[in-house]
């Protein structure tokens, strides 16, 4: 969830009465709803991200169904089912009927949802474009299945429950079918204005990227024309759960601290700094306050914006230990390989997971994977698979740090041809950044900012993977040359046998040919040029 947007909605509502509908209309470009083609991707993306996060939270192997039907012109019915733990009866209306309600705002933990805008925005979009409320089914283990039909009261930003009933698992209304029966999980259904497309910016491509990064999930897509695509599960191992981490003073943003001072129950500023931030001890807290010339005796919620800014500035000039990095959850080289193999069926794959490191007080970790040859198209430029916290990034490729890092690598050194500084040929390049705080270039959260430490890590990882791929290609080329040479010489020997016998005036042509063939065989060595 975006802190800036939340702040804005708080601020705006303080100044004057503003309906959430008006707010949504004003910010829909930031929320991913600027046109019908993108909106449906955003709706699916929000739901899928949430579902995957929820499954991982409770260590459930995710099973997701995305069902899309077209009705009317430019209208779609979207249904997304998951097998996560499910929501209790009290939470359901809030999650889907109150814009910007979330559980992740105040903790720093690596999760997909961090960059999402909340499923309630989708509900709002549905309501504004088709006038129809959202239907939610949710079932927890051993509990009955609840069905809610919820709309958002746009004046109060409160859920309005239109229907609330229990669904019998045997009834027709129970969200499930032959190949999908669940004991726990959530299903949401909504009607939205949408344009279902195929191609680069499409649900299909979004799910394909998701499948690469989450090979432990099974995802099924049913397209409007009835076509079913299954993204199979190829691993039963979930990546390790990320730990929580407090923010680091060198990387935290002003807005975040402003909210933190309001919510803190610390009695003094010094204890606020020590309690709410990582790597701040008593000595450093006192040093910071001294430099900021702020009296320690006050309660944190008495600090104003300028004073917080002074504290952050002072912290920049104070030496603090780097944050711990055990809070990150990369998917690991093994899963990267599995994901690439199952979705792309390449001839060669390699993956590198770098050690965690830190930019501006924020721990982050880079993973890259290369897939080459096989079913990947031979012609043209490479394809990029960009991920931030396992979520595919489909838009704004050219302003993303991943693209810059790829272009900084000299691919020709790894036997990959290049046009300008872009590699060519049957190649997919996967780049994943895992961080509790991914620096995006804009509120739209579609491209990662070009920070030196991040780009450097990506480049190093790409080079390491590139060397492995280069060695493979070279070995393959050598073997091909040797193979061709052997075939050629074997044939030539057949011409030479009789010629040498005739020229020397003695000897049996066949015997001479055999001698030459022996020599050719001895010379053949696919490992050597």
């Amino acid at each position: 969830m975006s802190n800036e947007i939340e702040q804005e909605i708080q601020q705006e509502s303080e100044h004057r009465e503003i309906s959430v509908a008006e707010f949504f209309e004003k910010n829909k470009h930031l929320l991913g709803f600027e046109n019908a083609q993108k909106s449906i991707i955003t709706v699916v993306k929000e739901a899928v991200d949430n579902s995957l996060d929820a499954c991982e939270e409770d260590e459930i192997l995710p099973e997701l169904h995305v069902l899309i039907d077209e009705y009317d012109d430019k209208k779609c019915r979207v249904e997304i089912r998951d097998n996560a733990i499910g929501l209790d009866r009290e939470t359901i209306p809030k999650v889907f009927g109150k814009l910007l309600y979330g559980s992740k705002f105040h903790k720093l933990q690596q999760s997909r949802g961090q960059q999402g805008i909340g499923i309630s925005a989708s509900a709002m979009y549905a309501q504004l474009t088709t006038g129809e409320p959202v239907t939610v089914y949710s079932k927890q283990k051993g509990e009955p299945c609840h069905k809610f039909i919820v709309r958002i009261d746009t004046e109060k930003n409160e859920p309005e429950i239109l229907e609330d009933e229990k669904i019998d698992p045997e009834s027709d209304e129970f969200p499930g079918d032959k190949d999908y029966y669940f004991d726990h999980g959530t299903t949401i259904e909504m009607n939205i204005e949408a344009k279902y497309t195929k191609g680069h910016h499409s649900i299909r491509n979004y799910l394909k990227h998701t499948a690469v990064m989450n090979p432990y999930a099974r995802i099924v897509l049913r397209e409007p024309d009835g076509n079913k695509i299954e993204y199979p599960r190829v691993s039963k191992t979930l990546p390790e759960k990320p730990g929580e981490i407090k923010p680091h003073l060198h990387g935290v943003e002003l807005g975040v601290v402003m909210r933190m001072v309001d919510n803190s129950n610390a009695r003094t500023i010094s204890s606020f700094l020590q309690k709410e931030f990582t790597r701040v001890g008593r000595t450093s807290a006192e040093e910071i306050l001294e430099k900021a010339e702020i009296d320690d005796g006050r309660r944190p919620n008495t600090l104003d914006k300028d004073e917080i800014e002074q504290i952050l500035k002072a912290a920049q000039n104070t030496k603090l230990q780097s944050p711990p990095t055990d809070c990150l959850s990369p998917i690991g080289e093994d899963l990267v390989l599995k994901g690439l193999k199952k979705e792309l069926n390449p001839e060669f794959t390699t993956a590198i997971t770098r050690k965690p490191t830190v930019y501006k007080g924020n721990p982050f970790q880079i993973e890259v994977g290369l897939a080459w040859g096989g079913d990947i198209e031979q012609e043209g430029s490479f394809d990029e698979l960009r991920f931030a916290n396992k979520v595919p990034l489909l838009y704004k490729k050219s302003s993303c740090v991943t693209t810059k890092a790829i272009e900084e690598v000299d691919w020709s050194r790894y036997n990959i041809s290049q046009t300008g500084n872009r590699p060519q040929g049957p190649l997919y390049i996967l780049v994943h950044i895992a961080s509790v705080w991914v620096p995006f270039t804009s509120e739209g959260k579609e491209a990662v900012a070009n920070y030196d430490p991040i780009r450097k890590e990506m480049k190093l990882a790409l080079q390491e993977a590139g060397r492995k791929l280069g060695r493979y290609i070279k070995r393959k080329e050598r073997a091909e040359i040797q193979e061709k040479k052997k075939r050629m010489l074997t044939s030539y020997a057949k011409e030479m046998g009789p010629a040498i016998a005739q020229l020397a005036g003695e000897g049996d042509p066949e015997e001479i040919e055999n001698q030459i063939q022996k020599m050719v065989k001895a010379d053949y060595n696919p490992e050597q040029l």
């Binding site: 074997t490 030539y492 057949k494 011409e495 009789p498 020229l503």
Partner: protein, 376 residues
């Protein structure tokens, strides 16, 4: 016709057999991991100009062709195929054209999508390789090329038992074959040999009875002289003791023809002793002729761009190339080329017709010979 046996045949067979034996021994030798053939390097870097002899000769640098080297393998196979086939020709007393040789050997290599020879250039090149590798020349290998060039004049030649009187050849002349080593000169009343670059000029001189009136052997080369013509000029000069005058266009291409006749060519430098005639002199066209015979209005501008203004290209480039050869360093030749560059023109043999058709036969050539006005 009787089958041809040349005096070198025995030696040629020995040389070819030696090559075969060498390969066979390499196969037998367990130490030997590759098959090799040595040939002399035939590029400009291995060509020397012998000032005393006045001829080009091939240096001593060898290149080794290796069968297991992927870029040599095909040529290696081709060399053995051609060598083996020519040995067959020599043994059978047959001669074959280099085109026939190409067709005899051309077929699809079993198991590969390629032919033993894709075009005649490939087999022609291999023939020259075998010449330098074995020391047996093309004629020894019983290989003939297309006849090129014609001959008129008071000389009688015995060719394989038939006597040919070259004075009685009408307007056609003797068609010069590629092999002339077996020619015997029965009778000769000529005073000199006139080598002529263009066929048109040969026709003019024959029509004017130049060969009769001046006891001249007229030998037309039809442009760049073939091996047969060069060998015949060398042979007549040495055996009949006749001076050789070369008559070409006044341009870099014509002067290069003269240079090849006189000193030999780079690609056949290893045969200069048989093909070059160092005593040959150039009778015309010279740059001075343009003034002497008032030919300004019938010159042609040189083609291409001169040095310094985008060049040298085309004619200009050729002038600089020929000017730079070691064997063209005599002052009179440098002057000739410099003048050509300064004037920016070339002059053809036929330009002499500007005066009158018979002018070349009755005045231009006799005058030059009388006054010994030659370039050497």
């Amino acid at each position: 016709m009787p089958k041809k046996d040349f005096e070198n045949d025995e030696q040629t067979v020995d040389r070819l057999t030696h090559l075969g034996q060498k390969i066979k021994n390499q196969l037998k030798d367990p130490e030997e991991e590759n098959l090799t053939i040595e040939t002399k390097v035939r590029s400009k870097s291995n060509v020397n100009y012998d000032k005393d002899e006045g001829r080009l000769s091939l240096g001593d640098r060898y290149s080794t062709r290796k069968f297991l080297n992927i870029s040599h393998a095909r040529k290696f196979m081709q060399t053995l195929m051609v060598a083996s086939k020519t040995k067959e020709f020599v043994n059978e007393g047959r001669t074959a054209s280099i085109r026939e040789l190409y067709y005899q050997l051309k077929h699809t290599v079993p198991g590969l999508d390629e032919n033993t020879f894709e075009d005649q250039d490939e087999s022609d090149g291999v023939v020259v390789d075998i010449e330098t590798a074995t020391g047996a020349i093309r004629e020894d290998l019983h290989l003939i090329a297309e006849a090129k060039g014609s001959l008129f004049g008071p000389v009688t030649i015995n060719d394989s038992g038939d006597e040919i009187n070259c004075m009685k050849m009408g307007t056609s002349g003797l068609n010069i074959p590629s092999i002339v080593d077996h020619y015997e000169f029965v009778e000769c009343e000529a005073d000199f040999i006139l080598v002529v670059e263009t066929n048109a000029m040969v026709n003019r001189l024959v029509e004017e009875d130049f060969h009769k009136d001046h006891n001249a052997i007229i030998l037309g080369t039809k442009g760049q002289p073939a091996r047969g013509a060069r060998r015949l000029i060398n042979k007549m000069h040495n055996e009949l003791d006749l001076p050789v005058y070369v008559f070409t266009d006044g341009d870099p291409w014509g002067y290069y023809i003269y240079s090849v006749l006189k000193s030999g060519s780079m690609s056949l430098a290893f045969q200069s002793d048989r093909l070059a005639t160092p005593d040959a002199k150039l009778i015309g066209m010279t740059m001075q002729d343009i003034e002497e015979y008032d030919l300004h209005h019938v010159t042609e501008n040189l083609k291409g761009k001169p040095e310094g203004s985008g060049g040298p290209t085309k004619d200009y480039k050729r002038i600089h190339d020929v000017m730079d050869y070691d064997w063209m360093q005599k002052e009179q030749w440098q002057k000739q080329f410099q003048k050509m560059l300064d004037m920016g023109v070339r002059v053809e043999q036929q330009a002499l017709a500007a005066n009158s058709l018979e002018f070349v036969a009755n005045e231009y050539l006799p005058q030059k010979i009388e006054e010994k006005k030659f370039l050497d």
